[in-house]
């Protein structure tokens, strides 16, 4: 038992952090800089990070969930406006079904963003959403189609981007009645175990994203509290402010510790166990991130409530990552069902 990152993982974290800081947005205005965004997307593609969960040739992924979680965390730390979790989850799904990954594809989610969209014939429960997709150009999303005891994959075309809460990740709508395009030669149906393992990865990556959001926004907020003066002294010298930030640091550390488990477990634990670990991590990280981001808004004072202050970029990113694969309330219901049995009547 040793939960430390390997030297290679630590190096990956360092390199990815450097890249994300260099090419990620430094201000809210930077979000409109398409040239920068293009360079960032290219750098992420060139680094091979979108292929981390592709088939290594043996059916196993090229890299473990730990590497994927490190990248997710570090990108979120810089609120990097580049697709990562979406395409990586799609590639993971494709690998499990034994089909070649479709470049740039993501997974489709039902409107509650909790389960991947399941359809038959055409998209009937529309709209469904393709999350963390490219913001421009054509986009395709995997959809699950019931087939006997399991599911097979289909592809749908995404529609125009819609303005979601998150300013850093695009959401593409899949319109009602969208045709289901077959995928080439699926080698097998997806089972319940496949879906559990895949959801575990989704929970691990969205948790890691929330950890990154907390790291980034807390760093920015501590720096602000050191520099912003009132009554002639930095506001960070006031205990009322210090205690909010100290609590935020603890929440970040706890969420990070919990998130390591499903990130590792997605490849090492039984699927049901990995998903349970993901629910724990995500429920904790979601509540933690909400508090930490709200603290950041508060400590930034009036400016923290303005559009041009980047704090809301973190908060908005946390809102999407929280909802995606289930927010804390939904996950607690799932945990209760799994551990306590079904509720009867009164609840």
């Amino acid at each position: 038992m040793d939960t430390r990152e390997t030297p290679e993982q630590a190096e990956l974290r360092r390199a990815a952090r450097q890249l994300a800081r260099e090419l990620g947005p430094r201000t809210v205005a930077d979000l409109d800089d398409a040239k920068r965004r293009g360079r960032l997307a290219e750098a992420v593609r060139d680094a091979g990070w979108l292929e981390l969960r592709d088939d290594a040739g043996s059916g196993a992924p090229l890299a473990s969930g730990v590497e994927a979680a490190i990248i997710a965390e570090v990108l979120a730390e810089s609120v990097a406006d580049v697709p990562f979790t979406g395409p990586v989850l799609a590639a993971d799904l494709a690998r499990r079904a034994g089909v070649p990954a479709v470049d740039g594809a993501v997974a489709a989610f039902a409107p509650d963003l909790i389960e991947a969209a399941v359809a038959s014939g055409s998209v009937t429960e529309a709209p469904v959403y393709a999350l963390d997709a490219a913001s421009e150009g054509p986009v395709r999303a995997y959809l699950l189609v019931r087939a006997g005891e399991g599911y097979r994959l289909a592809l749908v075309e995404g529609d125009l981007a819609r303005d979601g809460a998150d300013l850093t990740r695009a959401i593409r709508r899949v319109p009602e009645g969208a045709a289901l395009l077959p995928v080439s030669d699926p080698s097998r149906l997806l089972t319940r175990d496949d879906l559990d393992a895949w959801a575990a990865l989704g929970l691990a990556l969205t948790s890691a994203d929330l950890v990154g959001v907390m790291r980034g926004v807390l760093d920015a907020t501590v720096a602000y509290a050191q520099q912003r003066k009132q009554y002639g002294v930095p506001i960070g010298s006031f205990q009322a402010v210090q205690h909010l930030l100290a609590e935020a640091r603890c929440l970040l550390e706890g969420a990070f510790s919990a998130t390591l488990h499903p990130a590792w477990g997605v490849d090492a634990l039984a699927p049901e166990e990995a998903r349970a670990a993901g629910r724990v991590a995500k429920a904790y990280a979601a509540r933690a991130a909400r508090t930490v981001c709200e603290t950041a808004v508060q400590v930034h004072g009036g400016m923290g409530n303005t559009w041009d202050c980047s704090v809301h970029v973190y908060l908005r990113r946390a809102l999407l990552s929280t909802r995606w694969f289930g927010d804390d309330a939904e996950l607690l219901r799932q945990i209760a069902r799994a551990r306590l049995g079904a509720a009867d009547g009164l609840s």
Binding site: M1, T3, A225, Q239, Q242, A246, R249, Y284, R339
Partner: protein, 376 residues
């Protein structure tokens, strides 16, 4: 990164699990009942004699010199079996190994680790709580001994203790942090009076109170150098109530397990109870994983720095979440029966944000020493 047991860890876990199955004393959780404390010494020596205590401590003093993660396995297996947590002595061991002379280590560590000698800690005083450096207990040199006068409080289990790890003022002339020294004071002598305090949940062992009125301690029982007391105290408090040191994870997991059992038997339980227990499970799991992470990090070397304050605060939130869940599940039972276990667990949990350094002090430490915020 690997959360799995290594072959050696797995073998240890198997051996431990078998031993617990045959030796679980079935004591109540430590927070609710003096019956736990009445038999804690017995439990300590049983664990020790079976080779399951002091796992990461030096072998020459009776420990097993294993990597710190073996303590995680111990805590997890105790929780799994519903057995009592291991005795919380890690911070005293850290203090003595870090600051004590070879002679002091040889004299005191074997008895402390084996449980043959019982210890308490004498730091706080009625007028020196969070402001520990304000302490006034004095130690005055008298030939080959020091003579102690003063009033110590929150000296948990002091009425069972053979020794007190005492912090006293040996030099009133120097600035207050510099005039303190640490001692191993024998408790079974004239001049040591016990005045136990009753906690809000009714138990009397957790909150001790001792008056030293001319108690004597041999000069060779000083731990560290004269005037080193503050530094020693800081080492100890950085580990005190650190979840990896005190083994409370086992207590929380056991309580959550009991609450889950109660709700599994009652599918009509209201959704707020189910949610409270699910959240307690999330919190307890987070702490279990956090301890795994922190003890894994110790493979790079132990750190006596401010990180323990983060751990303490996380542990406090877990304890109070679990306490609130117990109260929620109990419902009316907890208010119609003064001896209700859930009521006791809940009331005990409120002390966690005070004992071992208040949450406010931990936040001060995190803000200034970890986040680097300026002091006012």
């Amino acid at each position: 990164m690997d959360f799995r047991d290594s072959p050696a860890e797995a073998a240890f876990r198997t051996r431990l699990r078998a031993w617990i199955a045959g030796n679980n004393p079935g004591l109540p959780v430590s927070s609710t009942d003096d019956a736990y404390w009445a038999r804690q010494a017995e439990w300590h020596t049983a664990l020790y004699d079976a080779g399951f205590f002091g796992l990461s401590w030096p072998a020459r003093f009776g420990g097993h010199a294993l990597p710190p993660v073996f303590d995680v396995i111990l805590d997890e297996e105790l929780a799994h079996a519903g057995a009592p947590p291991r005795p919380s002595l890690g911070y005293l061991v850290q203090g003595i190994t870090t600051h004590g002379s070879e002679a002091v280590q040889q004299r005191f560590l074997p008895g402390l680790i084996s449980g043959r000698e019982r210890w308490c800690q004498g730091f706080s005083e009625p007028d020196a709580g969070s402001d520990l450096a304000a302490l006034r207990t004095s130690a005055v040199r008298d030939g080959g001994a020091w003579v102690i006068h003063g009033h110590k409080i929150w000296t948990s289990y002091s009425d069972d203790a053979d020794w007190c790890f005492l912090l006293a003022r040996t030099d009133p002339a120097v600035p207050r942090h510099k005039g303190l020294s640490a001692f191993a004071v024998p408790m079974r002598q004239p001049g040591v009076e016990q005045h136990p305090l009753r906690m809000i949940n009714g138990i009397t062992k957790e909150f001790g109170q001792v008056v030293f009125d001319g108690a004597r301690v041999a000069a060779e029982n000083m731990i560290g150098a004269p005037g080193e007391g503050w530094r020693i105290a800081m080492t100890i408090v950085s580990h005190e109530r650190e979840p990896g040191e005190v083994g409370y994870v086992a207590r929380y997991s056991k309580t959550v397990g009991d609450l889950e059992k109660a709700l599994r038997a009652n599918p009509r339980a209201a959704s707020d109870k189910r949610e409270a227990v699910a959240w307690a499970h999330v919190q307890a799991e987070m702490l279990r994983l956090h301890v795994r992470r922190r003890l894994s990090e110790r493979l790079d070397g132990i750190d006596h720095g401010p990180g323990g304050s983060v751990d303490k605060l996380l542990m406090t939130w877990v304890e109070q979440t679990v306490g609130a869940a117990a109260l929620s599940v109990a419902g009316s039972r907890a208010v119609v029966d003064r001896d209700d276990v859930a009521l006791k667990i809940y009331l005990y949990s409120r002390a966690q944000s005070v004992m071992g350094g208040t949450s406010q002090i931990q936040k001060n430490i995190i803000a200034t020493r970890i986040l680097g915020l300026p002091t006012a």
